[in-house]
């Protein structure tokens, strides 16, 4: 069954159409890659799903439920979270605090609770911190929980961003170039992590990626965007052999394997 399905979504910036009549179907617990040349509208598509942009036309369904035009925080509550192309952490907060902030939608104690330090407040605090630690060890960051986020190494920051994103146990996770700027070994780690996210936590993964090798290796379905519209879609092998894709995106066939 489809966890996310968009039908002819269109987003304009002034004159140009960043995405044009985009129909996309993402099946549950799958790993899907969105690829395409720069400016093909990949990130814009993410921004439409997460509610940062409101598309002019079309609608996006999440588990058969209309989420188009909902404010971002509502969509996050529904269970869609994301990471960012250029890492955006809460830099002057500690690693754990970043995750705790990510847990926001899972917690319920109100301002008043915290004022009077109600039972719920105390329990939630301990609970949330425990969960945060579990997440830390899941992404392999345990031990640096009390460092400031900005002091982490680059790869660790990427992982922390994912940790924050999964802190409110989402159903769908949008990864915007998760391995950008990583060295091969870090990339391998990241691939493993992404797999585990899906296998262990059963999270549907949609990722934007330029590293074709990675894409081919990891994804069960690939969506190719060009100038804002979908030009191809299918299993990695189909995409590799799809003439339009080769034409529009990959140029020469063998460049795939560089």
């Amino acid at each position: 069954m489809n966890i996310i399905s968009s039908s002819n979504v269109t987003k304009r910036f002034g004159g140009l159409e960043a995405i044009r009549n985009l129909d996309v179907e993402i099946s549950e617990a799958s790993i899907t890659s969105v690829i395409g040349p720069n400016g093909a509208g990949k990130t814009t598509f993410f921004n439409c799903i997460t509610g940062y942009y409101k598309p002019e036309f079309g609608n996006i369904l999440f588990l058969e439920k209309e989420i188009t035009g909902l404010p971002p925080h509502r969509i996050a509550e529904e269970g869609i979270s994301r990471t960012y192309q250029n890492i955006r952490l809460f830099n002057s907060l500690t690693v754990i605090e970043n995750i705790l902030a990510g847990e926001h939608t899972k917690l319920h104690c109100s301002f008043a609770d915290s004022l009077i330090a109600s039972k719920r407040y105390r329990m939630e605090e301990t609970e949330s911190i425990k969960r945060a630690k579990e997440i830390l060890s899941f992404v392999g960051l345990s031990g640096c929980g009390d460092q400031l986020a900005c002091n982490l190494a680059y790869g660790a920051q990427r992982r922390l961003e994912i940790a924050r994103a999964i802190a409110n146990s989402p159903k769908v996770l949008l990864l915007d170039e998760p391995t950008a700027g990583m060295n091969p070994s870090e990339t391998v780690e990241m691939i493993k992590l992404i797999r585990r996210l899906r296998d262990k936590l059963n999270i549907t993964i949609i990722l934007i990626e330029h590293d074709i090798k990675l894409v081919m290796e990891i994804s069960e379905k690939i969506i190719v965007l060009d100038f804002g519209s979908k030009i191809a879609e299918g299993k990695p092998l189909e995409i590799q052999n799809d003439p339009t894709v080769i034409e529009a995106y990959l140029g020469k066939k063998n460049s795939l394997y560089q």
Binding site: T50, G51, Y52, P71, P72, H73, I75, A76, E77, S81, R82, Y84, R88, L89, F90, N91, S92, L93, T94, I96, E97, L100, A101, G102, H104, T105, L107, C109, S110, F111, D113, S114, L115, A117, Y121, E124, E125, T126, S128, I129, K130, A132, K133, L136, S142, G143, G145, D146, L148, R164, A165, N168
Partner: protein
């Protein structure tokens, strides 16, 4: 062995920072009015007035330090609180409500106004919010100045009630001194809880990156409003205390310099650190009075000190110290295990 020693020392160190120092400070602060010297009233006045600015600073801290909402017009809430007191506890309208009640009313009224000004500007950020609040602050002052038939305009309101709790009426500065510092302790206590809660972290996240905060599921509008109302509430209470202490108020008491001073207090103290505010207030409000010896050179010295302090300590005296949650949890985990076994 050596390790153990250093560990022990660290522990002691921790203890000192956590308990001994604050207790010492509070003892010193609390015992000032008890010294029997002609200088007493002066110091009660100076430190007490600094204490008032701690309260205001904590209010603005919620706006700027926690929620990251640049506020250049905080004096407005201070003024609203003060005038609420003047209306409800003075011969002006011949209403004389009890002190504590008016205190809460002043805060609430300031909070309501805070909400009203905040709602339309929720989308504004950074300096744009700053300039709007600045304008708002000025507008409030000018309205106080010009709605003569309500506020008595520039001529101010005199003979405000001295606070009376139960049957006792207090006239001495000593009362205000203690009252202010009890309130400070209470505020510090509560704010600390809030900061280390879901709410507080939502604010901090918002301050760090509003978009990401929202896409992490934080309803930024709601938390902005909450922060603004809370800050305004604290500011309003401060205003009421000021009014009852000074006994007469004029619109000029709430000009832009007041807003700027409060901002200096929290930045000097260290943004996002509620204890920094104490140091900031002491430095900023008490300093000019301590510099009185320099007579008419004092303000130029004050200006210089501001620059130097910022260059030496750009983070302020006490930058925010994040709680060490990871270790804390470890401890608790162990405890649980012990219980089980």
């Amino acid at each position: 062995m050596k390790e153990f020693a250093s560990k022990l020392f660290n522990k002691l160190d921790q203890r000192i920072i956590r308990y001994v120092l604050p207790s010492l400070i509070s003892i010193v602060i609390l015992s000032i009015p008890l010294i029997n010297s002609p200088q007493k009233n002066l110091w009660v006045r100076i430190i007490g007035y600094a204490g008032l600015y701690i309260i205001l600073g904590l209010g603005l801290l919620v706006h700027v330090g926690l929620a990251g909402m640049f506020d250049l017009g905080f004096a407005a809430f201070y003024a609203i609180g003060a005038y609420t007191y003047a209306f409800l506890a003075s011969p002006h309208f011949n209403i004389h409500l009890p002190f504590l009640l008016v205190l809460v009313l002043a805060g609430s009224f300031a909070a309501i106004v805070g909400l009203l000004i905040c709602i339309p500007v929720l989308k504004l950020r950074g300096d744009y919010l700053g300039i709007v609040t600045l304008g708002f602050g000025e507008i409030v002052r000018m309205l106080l100045m010009n709605l003569t038939n309500i506020t008595n305009g520039s001529q101010g309101i005199f003979k405000l009630d001295k606070p009376s709790i139960l049957v006792m009426t207090f006239t001495s500065g000593t009362f205000f001194y203690y009252f202010i510092f009890i309130l400070v302790a209470l505020l510090l206590f509560l704010l600390n809880r809030v900061i280390n809660s879901r709410t507080g972290r939502a604010w901090l996240a918002m301050r760090e990156d509003e978009d990401v905060a929202q896409m992490s599921g934080i309803n930024t509008s709601k938390y902005k409003l909450l922060a603004f109302a809370l800050g305004a509430f604290i500011g309003g209470m401060g205003g009421a205390i000021f009014a009852s202490w000074q006994g007469s108020i004029f619109p000029d008491n709430f000009n832009m310099n007041v807003s700027i001073n409060i901002l200096c207090v929290i930045i000097l103290g260290g943004l996002g650190n509620q204890f920094g505010v104490i140091l900031g207030a002491m430095a900023l409000i008490a300093l000019p009075d301590i510099l009185r010896g320099f007579s008419d050179y004092r303000m130029i010295i004050f200006g210089l000190l501001l620059i130097i302090m910022m260059i030496l300590q750009p983070q302020g005296f006490l930058p925010r110290k994040a709680p060490e949650l990871e270790n804390k949890v470890l401890k608790q985990g162990k405890k649980k295990k012990e219980v089980q076994s």
